[in-house]
């Protein structure tokens, strides 16, 4: 399965298993979503379980809060993560706080799915990476898969979770892993181990990182598309790096990070999102607090730039192989 099929399969299974699961969003019903993530679900599960919504993100998330409070398990789709902002108040002030403010009177078990990230020539409004904004909200979990197998298991766990989850789907790798070289042919997921996705139900616990590659020389913290870019660069450079795919940013697998950095003594953090106040800043601070006396070089960040996402200069913006290699060379120097 590719990542879209895996995500589709997760929703299909949850619609089947739990009559309270509903899937909703712009174009998700009859058409099956602009990325086809919900293809066939309405036909199979019916129009009241899988349906189109008005183009109104505040309404989509706000209505999902009410559905969750009723006892449903809504899985709203925001067509692009860039459009989560019109619905952000319902997420921040309502969904995220409902359990707390009502002392468990009401809960909001929703999973907001949304494609995010760049590398598809989407311009300023189809490329953003808002994960650090999500992790800054108290009461929301943030999940980012990097391959089909994880996407399915994590999405099932997210839908079953009784708290609101923002499930960010790196759209650049929907159809195949991305090396970071935009001028090379893209390999399909079918050539990758993670494409072996079981048809049946399985879940991957939220809050657990995965070791993509074991190594001794440096720890690379990445998630989503950047896991694959990092892997390509590291293999090409022949660095003995350990790559952790964080998978869930909140709750974060701090133990995995701490163990790895203490072992390697060096840490490189990679994300696509803009640099200032990005999630990398949080990771760097945590590593510094917990592993300072084990560090042999300053923690480095490789990120997007603090500009709106450019269209034609997309590949100059993208934290690609050159930027990663330069940072790795620096960190490995002494």
């Amino acid at each position: 399965m590719n990542m879209i099929e895996a995500i589709n399969s997760a929703m299909d299974i949850m619609l089947e298993r739990d009559p309270n699961t509903v899937v909703m969003g712009e174009d998700v019903g009859f058409f099956g979503g602009v990325f086809r993530a919900t293809a066939g679900l309405q036909k199979k599960h019916g129009k009241t379980r899988v349906f189109d919504t008005p183009i109104n993100e505040c309404g989509i998330i706000g209505v999902a809060v009410g559905m969750g409070a009723y006892g449903l398990r809504p899985v709203p789709e925001i067509q692009f993560a860039d459009y989560i902002y019109p619905g952000l108040d319902q997420l921040v002030s309502e969904a995220a706080r409902l359990r707390y403010r009502s002392a468990n009177d009401f809960i909001c078990p929703m999973t907001v799915r949304t494609p995010f990230g760049g590398g598809i020539f989407g311009g300023q409004t189809h490329s953003q990476s808002p994960e650090s904004i999500m992790t800054h909200i108290c009461g929301v979990k943030t999940v980012i898969p990097s391959n089909p197998y994880d996407a399915k298991g994590l999405l099932i766990a997210a839908i079953e979770d009784n708290d609101p989850v923002v499930f960010l789907e790196p759209k650049r790798i929907y159809n195949g892993p991305f090396s970071g070289y935009y001028d090379r042919p893209v390999e399909p997921w079918s050539k990758h181990d993670a494409s072996a996705v079981p048809e049946d139900y399985y879940r991957i616990e939220l809050g657990k990182a995965a070791t993509v590659r074991a190594g001794e020389a440096v720890t690379v913290l990445a998630y989503g598309t950047m896991v694959h870019v990092a892997k390509t660069v590291i293999e090409e450079m022949g660095v003995d790096a350990e790559i952790l795919d964080l998978r869930t940013l909140l709750p974060l697998d701090i133990d995995a990070i701490e163990t790895s950095v203490k072992k390697t003594g060096r840490c490189l953090i990679i994300h696509e999102a803009t640099r200032t106040s990005g999630f990398g800043a949080e990771l760097a601070a945590l590593v510094q607090e917990r592993c300072f006396y084990h560090l042999e070089a300053p923690v480095e960040r490789v990120t997007g730039f603090d500009t709106p996402y450019p269209h034609s200069l997309e590949w100059a913006y993208f934290p690609g192989p050159v930027r990663i290699a330069t940072a790795l060379e620096k960190i490995m120097k002494d």
Binding site: V22, T48, R49, T53, P54, N56, C58, G59, I61, G62, V63, A64, V65, G66, M67, G68, A69, Y70, G71, L72, P74, P86, D89, Q90, S93, E94, L98, R99, Y100, R101, S102, A103, N104, D105, F106, I107, C138, G139, K141, D161, N162, D163, G207, L250, P251, L252, I254
Partner: protein
């Protein structure tokens, strides 16, 4: 002048920007003589299944039942029993007694904040009495009448207001932001109008499950300018959601009059027209009209005829909250000049006209309710008041952010507990 601000050459007079101004300011003598008060019999009652476009006039008229002599008349008379009328009166009076007492408690420094609904009691009490006990209410912050009309224990309201150890919300919420699922009362948010789409979602969920319960939701006319309001109406019409939208038009949103929400150009009920939703404009100071309109809308929703928007035309007779001083922005006599009177006085007059009530009974009831509120207040204050010590175990601050506490919150909780132990010693217990 910068180039971009230059007027284009033409013979037209310059454009001018309109900034709404209320009709009266402090020092003015208000005169509401020009407000159209249609005769009680003038407003027809369409069938509950009437298509919205066949009842547009209802968005511009006024549903009324009680005339100013206390007689119930016209097509909208819900013909309630004397017993039910007295119950309605009692609930409204209890709301007022409660408000007065809690307002005073705030002034005495026993809590941080309070909001009265004086003059608007009918818009929550009569409205709640007209729906089923199992229907879910999504209140804004001025609908204490819902809880009272559903016999929610007064002491629990007070415990919440005092954030004391009886507060089941553990002191997390601003006073008056209650939550009572078992009374069909959704948790109150401080963000205006957010509950509008949530009510629609709840109603959609109910419909999709083949349930028979409906949702009702309240906001002020000021808040109807929020995007959430329009999101909610869009979703409600698209999915024909079984929901009742209440807009309590009390003329003022803190110091901004209704003109700043668009009220100069049209009615708030007329917002329904653009969405193809049924709209009713109601005399919000007439408890029977509020009851009748809500009952109509509830029947409509329950028979799959869709949502209704009800504008309750009323007046905020007191300050916005304990933090507000209305004499700074509005004419002093506005409340008394308001042509629709006071809902409690009108209900009393009606019952007296029916021969079902008298002044002595009224005074006795008021005394009884004041007493009830006072006694309850004493009990609640035994559980603590805001600012007098801490009433909740410290660690509750970190609970319920998530179903299970993640490591970073556990760490922060431990840090806070260590700080508190330094301050208060290891044996500290909540008061």
């Amino acid at each position: 002048m910068p180039e971009t601000h230059r007027r284009p050459a033409s013979n037209l007079p310059p454009l001018s920007l309109h900034i709404p101004e209320p009709r009266y300011r402090p020092g003015d003598t208000p005169d509401f003589g020009d407000i159209d008060v249609p005769a009680v019999e003038a407003t027809p009652r369409p069938g509950e299944a009437t298509k919205p476009d066949a009842m547009r006039d209802m968005c511009y008229g006024l549903v009324r039942v009680l005339d100013f002599d206390g007689q119930a008349k016209g097509a909208w008379d819900p013909k309630l029993s004397a017993e039910r009328l007295r119950a309605m009166l009692r609930y409204m009076m209890l709301v007022r007694a409660f408000d007065d007492r809690m307002f005073r408690a705030q002034r005495q420094g026993k809590t941080s904040f309070y909001m009265k609904c004086t003059g608007e009691e009918a818009t929550s009490v009569a409205s709640t009495m007209a729906i089923d006990r199992a229907d879910m209410c999504f209140p804004s912050y001025r609908q204490q009448g819902i809880l009272i009309a559903r016999d929610y224990p007064l002491i629990q309201m007070m415990n919440q207001i005092y954030s004391n150890r009886g507060d089941h919300l553990l002191g997390r919420q601003l006073p008056i932001m209650y939550s009572a699922p078992e009374h069909g009362f959704f948790s109150v948010s401080g963000n205006l109008a957010t509950q509008y789409p949530q009510a629609v979602g709840w109603a959609m969920a109910s419909a999709s499950k083949g349930d028979s319960r409906i949702a009702t939701v309240w906001c002020g006319e000021g808040s109807s300018a929020e995007g959430d309001f329009h999101s909610a109406l869009t979703f409600a019409t698209v999915y024909n959601a079984p929901v009742i939208f209440n807009v309590v038009n009390n003329q003022w949103a803190i110091s901004s009059f209704s003109g700043f929400a668009g009220g100069e150009r049209t009615t708030f009920a007329a917002r329904a027209v653009g969405y193809g939703i049924a709209g009713l404009r109601v005399d919000g100071n007439d408890p029977l009209a509020v009851y009748a309109a809500t009952q109509w809308a509830a029947d409509r929703a329950r028979t799959n005829n869709g949502p209704t928007l009800i504008e309750h035309f009323t007046y905020r007779a007191e300050g916005h909250s304990t933090s507000d001083d209305p004499s700074a922005y509005r004419a002093a006599q506005e409340a008394s000049a308001w042509p629709f009177g006071d809902p409690i006085a009108r209900m009393k007059q009606h019952l007296i006209a029916l021969g079902e009530w008298d002044d002595a009974q009224h005074d006795a009831l008021r005394a009884e309710l004041d007493d009830l509120v006072k006694t309850t207040q004493k009990q609640s204050e035994k559980l603590g008041i805001l600012g007098h010590g801490m009433h909740q175990p410290f660690e509750t601050m970190f609970e319920d952010v998530f179903e299970q506490m993640p490591w970073h919150l556990k760490e922060q909780c431990d840090q806070m507990l260590a700080e508190q132990e330094k301050k208060f010693g290891p044996n500290w217990k909540p008061e």
